[in-house]
Symmetry: C2
Subunit: 531 residues, 2 copies
């Protein structure tokens, strides 16, 4: 059973080691977990539905509660404390486009808002109902999960857009193909969700971002059906796929998505490297991207993330041995870890890794083999489970991210870290902040920041802490030329900063386009742009 107020399956845990607990205690002080509300208690408090009955819609309180929020820190605080605010009035599980069209008709007649639900993994508040809004119908697209067509000649696969990561890959891999889109939320997040939030997979360097992989599909909008034919490229005016990518439910419901797939690579490898400092690591990461080596991943951690990773990894004896060996090569305090991935035929993987080693070597990096790469690979989808353990030890962990041209990256990293570290000073609370670059491009990189702070007993105080942290980081990002989000989307949490990035005119253009597909403003109101 999936956790209703945390990450993942209840049977799965990722306990915090004693070493890790001590490390955090040193960094931010001892934690004290706040009291969680029980599922029974919270379910009992769910108000009656404001929607009329419909055979496709359930008003079951637990079903509604489980689709009320995503996985952002404010979502966690709401669910853990039981102060969940507005929950959907009904949930539907359409099994085909006919159902979706009927649900849109029903919602319009009932004066309801519609919130599309994919995997429920948003970390920026995409799913939060507007507390002042009309009744809410949550449309869970999870039953649109099948591979409908596989064109092996054109490498195009057509899926029900509600398909989740593991089901998508299983259906493709049984036929010898893969999409290769692996966001950390892979276990639950859905293809449609990836598209409408412009999600980036961990290996997007090799497999492409969802913007590259999404070739077309079908969107059911209140004003009608939008068909997006899967052309390899077109000059027939602006690309409507690009309007759907990042539309965050404001235009309609994506029911079908055609994606560009490829044969499963014969082999895959992740190699680890260490640099004496972040500056040399950054120069190497940039060169790896600008040399356009055939890699699937370049992931560089700052010294503090490197230290945190090593402290939280377990295997402390092995780590101490590694550190002694790196010390002999002159790498000590301030060292940075780099992971590099490649996939393809064995010869291609060897060639790519060997070219990467040459670049890394030129920048003073040391190759440490595949152990750290294997460790990362093993835990790539498990890490979110650590959030449960941290919460239960009294710590909140949250992430935020941006992207900018290479020239802006060092300042951006420093400014966001400083903003977060000092945001809770008025309360005398410390914040443990660490950063990595995980998506590099010839012209720039993303910047992915994790921050840990202590939970207060009072949920309001935790929300207040989060607001201070998020605000400080977002202002630092805006001032340093970063985008408000590289891979998480806008949702409710980034909306205050959207106009700063898109401009008044840009938002007006998006608002107008959305109005054409959703004239009544019934789709996910309060997100992205006003109706």
């Amino acid at each position: 059973m999936r956790r209703w107020n945390g990450w993942g399956d209840e049977a799965e845990t990722y306990p915090l080691s004693e070493e890790a607990r001590r490390y955090l205690e040193e960094r931010v002080g001892p934690g004290e977990p706040p009291a969680d509300a029980s599922l029974e208690e919270v379910t009992r408090g769910i108000p009656a539905s404001r929607l009329p009955d419909h055979p496709l819609v359930t008003a079951d309180p637990e079903t509604r509660l489980r689709r009320a929020r995503g996985q952002s820190l404010p979502d966690w605080i709401a669910l853990r404390s039981g102060r969940v605010g507005t929950v959907p009035d009904g949930v539907a599980f359409p099994e085909n486009d006919g159902h979706v069209v009927e649900l849109l008709r029903f919602a319009r007649e009932a004066g309801a808002a519609v919130i599309p639900y994919g995997g429920g993994t948003s970390v920026v508040g995409h799913l939060t109902p507007d507390p002042e809004g009309p009744p809410v119908l949550s449309v869970d697209l999870g039953r649109l999960w099948q591979l409908h067509r596989l064109d092996e000649e054109s490498l195009l696969a057509s899926f029900g857009a509600g398909v989740r990561g593991p089901d998508l890959e299983a259906q493709l891999r049984s036929r010898g193909y893969t999409l290769g889109h692996y966001p950390q939320s892979f276990e639950y997040s859905s293809l449609g969700g990836w598209v409408v939030t412009r999600s980036k997979g961990q290996q997007s360097l090799g497999y492409g971002r969802i913007e590259d992989l999404f070739a077309g599909g079908r969107l059911q909008a209140p004003a009608g059906t939008l068909h997006l034919p899967p052309f390899p490229a077109s000059a027939a005016g602006p690309d409507l796929r690009e309007l759907v990518l990042g539309s965050e439910g404001r235009l309609g419901l994506l029911t079908e998505a055609v994606v560009r797939v490829r044969p499963v690579p014969e082999s895959e490898a992740f190699h680890g490297f260490f640099f004496p400092d972040f500056t040399s690591g950054l120069a190497a990461a940039r060169e790896l991207a600008q040399e356009r080596l055939a890699l699937t991943m370049v992931r560089l951690s700052t010294p503090r993330e490197t230290e945190t990773t090593l402290r939280l990894a377990g295997h402390q004896e092995l780590i101490r041995l590694l550190e002694r060996l790196l010390g002999l090569r002159g790498l000590g305090e301030g060292k940075c870890m780099l992971l590099v991935g490649a996939a393809g035929r064995p010869g291609q993987v060897r060639a790519a890794i060997s070219e990467a080693r040459a670049v890394v070597g030129r920048h003073g990096g040391v190759h440490v083999g595949r152990t750290f790469g294997r460790e990362w690979e093993k835990n790539r989808f498990r890490t979110p489970y650590l959030r449960n353990a941290l919460w239960e030890t009294g710590y909140a962990v949250d992430t935020l991210e941006t992207a900018a041209p290479w020239r802006a990256v060092p300042d951006l990293v420093a400014a966001v870290e400083v903003a977060l570290q000092s945001a809770l000073q008025p309360e005398n609370e410390r914040v443990h902040v660490f950063t990595h670059l995980s998506h590099v491009y010839p012209d720039g990189s993303n910047v992915y920041v994790t921050y840990v702070f202590r939970l207060a007993a009072d949920p309001e105080q935790n929300v207040e802490r989060w607001h201070r942290l998020k605000g400080a980081a977002s202002r630092a990002i805006g001032a340093r030329g970063g985008t408000i989000s590289h891979q998480h989307g806008v949702g409710t949490d980034h909306r205050p900063y959207l106009e700063g990035e898109k401009g008044r005119l840009g938002l007006e253009a998006l608002r107008s386009a959305a109005g054409a597909l959703d004239p009544g403003g019934m789709m996910n109101p309060g997100k992205l742009v006003e109706p």
Copy 2:
């Protein structure tokens, strides 16, 4: 001096060989050139400007005539016959954004339409003024041509968007960089024009399409200024760059464009191959794209294009020798030529070509060295000059293009060729049609069709012939799942087919977005979408 009623510089010619003339005579009959109007005669007929005076605007008749049309066949017929229809009432040459803003104000107050003018190389009628519309101000952006900033760390270059191909490359190459965007119109077409028409360069496989190269910039719209910050990637809602890409002047004037550049490659090579038939060539081209080899170009000609190229190439003795040698390998009637390009360090080029040779060999292709590649390279921007010679021998030549998933490509090629070949049967005129694929993708390819037919003495009859041909081809493309344009854009010529591709709702979304930037519908009216 640039030709006013044909392609290119008057000093440059590309004469038709006697062999080529004979070949065309065999295919479609002897040509008889229609009488051309003189520049003097046509200029004398230009009506007085309907615009009030403005210090930034000239009403000189020849200046206006020279910006009245592009390079489509209907444009040529209009200019050559002297029946040019509506010409702009004034032309402005802004030198900065302040001028552009002032010109938009002037046009609004004068109730005028604004048509942005880049290089005047549109082949689908982007520049044609609406004959029933208001007075027209043509804004020639050619004085916005400078490299403003080069960020060598992020490989980003910021240009005045009116810069033409050769000036753009010269400014970059003197600093060691290149954009690598080479459409056939390179000699005259402009960066801004590439962006707003979604132009594809001949080596887009290696350097990227303009969609990949355009990182951001500034658009001056009637409703204000749209700033597009150059992020490497973003998840902050739909990408507004993608609204500007393909906007065909309907949103405003692009004054600045930031592009992703790269160091000039150390070496570059184009190799030629021949296949026994189109089916095997197509299979090889597909595999080259799907194997994602590090190539810059894959260009496959049908048997008829191969034959036409060989007949029109000159060097007939060498060609006969080649054909004898290919004959010994079993390649005769029906053979197809493939050109493959690679760029980078010499070792990278060798490796890529050697991988390509392996793929080609598996499909029965024969390597013929670099002669044909060098010939193609030498003539890559010269071929349009052949249009002048053909016209003056009595032949019209036109091209059209589409793109589709691989599965649809063979049928699409056949259907478009048949449609064109039979379109003039009611007049008992033959049409010589030949095709190549020049932009391949893992999921599909473009299809680029050239057709030659005889000119009549009467310009109306030539327009009529073109309408029949264009209509027949466009309907065949729509019916076979191709896009109405892969690289030329919509303009006036493809507009009747746009709704078939985008759908009513899609067009409505674009119309609404355009309305936000250009509420009065003054920008290039009659193009893309209604105001």
